[in-house]
């Protein structure tokens, strides 16, 4: 068997594929952050909490009302998006125009609050959510066993990512959105309800996080603290990609999934730190990230 740095090629291919799958997941999460920062200049530290909420809502809806996975895939992002709209309308709007740092602190507070309340209600051991029957099992690729569900995750995540990018960068709605956030008064003059647009954008951003949460529910243990672990990593992805760059977030997400996957193969203890190393190095040479425009 051929070896690369002492690792069999088959194992390496498996790790690369896993890296891409996790990367697609990161892409989905960082995409929402990038949308929120790029269009609204809000540093959303509640993003991890929204991801958690998406997963929790999925489990709770199933336990209480028997709502199945496919319905949850739409319902959970919708509900969490609505929560996002409320948060924007009642809280974030009041600090619009202030330094970015205040949005960071405010959303960090929101995250602590949601996490803490849910911990007291549901505990931290995790909630059980069964894999939908359709996805049970997997396929043997020769170099690894690929569960069907992981294949679904990568497929749907890429579709949603691309769709979002297309909508914002290539459609009229996206153009309004970008214009509305750049020059609110002008767009208001054209008869567009900018405040509503902003609320909806925030709602959409967190709905993307919630969507990732639904995808996570069958494979990761669903707990109120699941978002806090992933938040910092996802932030690093967005910064490396260039804050606010939609396409950058997607590409970097996948890239970082692969980098992390390789680290997990060659030096596992560093796999949680490697992204920060990449971030320091990237920002040294490209101050606004890989795909960001210099301010």
């Amino acid at each position: 068997m051929s070896m690369i740095f002492g690792v069999p090629l088959a194992v390496l291919s498996g790790q690369l594929l896993i890296g891409v799958i996790n990367g697609a997941f990161y892409a989905l999460l960082s995409l929402g952050l990038a949308v929120i920062f790029g269009l609204l200049k809000i540093i959303n530290f509640a993003h991890g909490a929204m991801y958690m909420l998406g997963a929790m809502v999925t489990v709770i809806m199933f336990d209480v009302m028997g709502v199945n996975y496919w319905v949850a895939l739409f319902m959970a992002p919708l509900l969490v998006g609505a929560v996002g709209v409320l948060i924007e309308y009642f809280l974030l709007r009041r600090i619009a125009g202030q330094d970015h740092i205040y949005s960071l602190l405010l959303t960090f507070g929101i995250a602590l609050l949601m996490q803490g309340v849910l911990t007291n209600i549901y505990g931290v051991s995790g909630m059980r959510y069964s894999m939908p029957d359709l996805f049970k099992g997997g396929i043997n690729l020769g170099f690894m066993f690929l569960p069907y569900y992981r294949a679904w995750v990568i497929g749907i995540a890429l579709v949603v990512c691309f769709g979002t990018w297309f909508m914002i960068e290539k459609t009229k709605l996206g153009a309004y959105l970008r214009a509305g956030t750049e020059d609110a008064q002008l767009m208001q003059g054209f008869g567009i309800n900018v405040p509503l647009l902003i609320s909806l954008t925030y709602g959409f951003g967190v709905a993307l996080a919630a969507f990732a949460g639904v995808l996570a529910a069958p494979i990761y243990s669903v707990t109120p603290v699941m978002g806090s672990h992933i938040l910092i990593t996802v932030f690093a992805v967005v910064v490396i990609g260039g804050m606010g760059s939609i396409g950058g977030a997607i590409i970097t997400g996948i890239l970082m999934g692969v980098v992390e996957g390789l680290t997990k193969t060659f030096y596992p203890p560093a796999s949680s730190a490697v992204i920060f190393l990449v971030m320091v190095v990237v920002l040294m040479f490209r101050p606004a990230g890989l795909f960001g425009k210099e301010a």
């Binding site: 069999p8 088959a10 194992v11 498996g14 790790q15 896993i18 890296g19 799958i21 996790n22 803490g116 911990t119 007291n120 505990g123 931290v124 051991s125 995790g126 909630m127 059980r128 069964s130 894999m131 099992g137 997997g138 690894m144 066993f145 569960p147 569900y149 992981r150 494979i219 990761y220 243990s221 707990t223 603290v225 699941m226 672990h229 992933i230 996957g261 997990k264 193969t265 596992p268 203890p269 560093a270 796999s271 949680s272 730190a273």
Partner: protein
């Protein structure tokens, strides 16, 4: 110097005992502090329900000892050694707390036992896993009650090797607890004729285990052992079942699993996993009766730690009653001299290093067909006798032992 002081105080205490039992309970109050993680990662295995268990013990004891009242204070340690140490310092230096119980995160337990030794009060560690707590970190002022990494490795690893799992791959959480467990497992596996063919240290916490599970599969080992805890373990088990690890003929051995973890996993994902536990709620009539009362109070079945908190509080109060004193050394000595026989254990003994040694159990998670309800999770395969389970005193690094 401190040793001398302790001898003196215990001598004074015994002298006072002779003159009148009441006089030796300071302030006519036995004050117990319950310190645990109430809001973080370890909340469910001890946490608020552990406090309930302690209150049950006090109520069952009658709410007072020899006419002195029993008071409870409690705090969230936030899994932080300095929050814990400032709380306990204030408890012992300003509020006359006699006993500190609960104690989950190992950093918290070690920090607290240092303070207790300095002030000569007593601590009972129920939640921590680190066997170092009664080894290099032992003090004459604390007792480690429920379990530690030594029997965890001993019970599960030796059983699995004997069933034919000769080659092992260990997934280790990359911090002190994981390293200790990995070391203990390696020793047990090799002693029983097995072989470690690979270890992998993963960051703590790790949200996604797929890469590590894949590497474990590629290793071709008979057994994949998880030397981690909490969400890491449940995530790893979930991912292992998703990637068909057991279907491809490998055995999964989880070294530390609590009842709440197994409940979170569900029997479908966790079925067949072997684990070592210090206690299980559904072992006999006595444990069931107590667990029913606990469930009425809390809405959940008790973990071994909840049961341990109840049992150790009871033992402590009995010792205070018998000696008529709340002096740490007097009470600890009495507790050491009294074998423990209650719903938690039969013939449990507290050794001079502070380790409470008792029978442990090798359990297997039931299959969905066997499990009758959401808490019907284990079947007990074997009792691991106390003397076989825990680190023998001959291997101890605790200075209290050789004297």
């Amino acid at each position: 110097m401190t040793m001398m002081k302790k001898l003196l105080t215990s001598a004074v205490a015994s002298a006072m005992m002779a003159t009148g039992a009441q006089a030796a309970i300071s302030n006519d109050t036995v004050k117990i502090g319950y310190l645990a993680d109430m809001s973080g990662t370890y909340r469910d295995l001890a946490g608020p329900n552990g406090l309930k268990a302690m209150e049950m013990a006090i109520a069952d004891f009658g709410g007072e000892v020899n006419g002195a009242k029993i008071e409870v204070v409690s705090a969230d340690d936030r899994n932080s050694a300095d929050v814990a140490s400032s709380t306990v310092r204030r408890w012992v230096e300003n509020e006359n707390v006699d006993l500190v119980a609960g104690l989950v995160a190992s950093s918290v337990s070690i920090a607290v036992s240092d303070i207790l030794e300095e002030n000569d009060r007593l601590g009972i560690v129920s939640g921590s896993a680190a066997s170092s707590i009664t080894n290099e970190h032992c003090t004459p002022n604390h007792i480690h009650y429920v379990y530690d990494t030594y029997p965890l490795a001993n019970g599960t690893a030796s059983a699995v090797v004997k069933e034919g799992g000769k080659t092992w791959f260990i997934l280790t959480a990359d911090y002190a607890f994981g390293h200790a467990l990995e070391g203990d497992v390696t020793r047990v596996v090799e002693a029983n004729g097995g072989e470690i063919i690979g270890t992998l240290r993963h960051p703590f916490p790790t949200p996604d285990f797929s890469s590590f599970i894949l590497q474990a599969q590629a290793s071709g080992a008979d057994v994949v052992a998880l030397a981690n805890a909490g969400a890491d373990t449940t995530n790893a088990i979930n991912t292992a079942s998703e990637f068909g690890l057991t279907q491809s003929g490998q055995t999964l051995a989880a070294l530390l699993l609590f009842l709440n973890d197994v409940k979170a996993l569900g029997v479908e994902a966790a079925q067949g996993i072997q684990l070592t536990t210090g206690w299980y709620w559904d072992m006999n009539d006595e444990t069931r009766a107590w667990s029913d009362r606990f469930m009425e109070e809390t809405g959940a079945r008790p973990t071994m730690i909840h049961a341990g908190v109840y049992s150790s509080t009871m033992q402590y109060l009995k010792a205070v009653e018998a000696t008529g004193s709340d002096d740490a050394q007097t009470v600890r000595k009495q507790m050491m001299n009294t074998p423990i026989n209650d719903m938690f254990t039969k013939n449990g003994v507290i050794r001079e290093d502070g380790r409470m040694v008792h029978d442990m159990y090798l359990a297997e998670v039931k299959t969905p067909a066997e499990s009758k309800n959401e808490w019907d999770l284990y079947k007990i395969l074997r009792t691991i006798p106390a003397e076989e389970a825990y680190r023998p005193l001959s291997e101890s690094k605790c200075p209290l032992v050789n004297k």
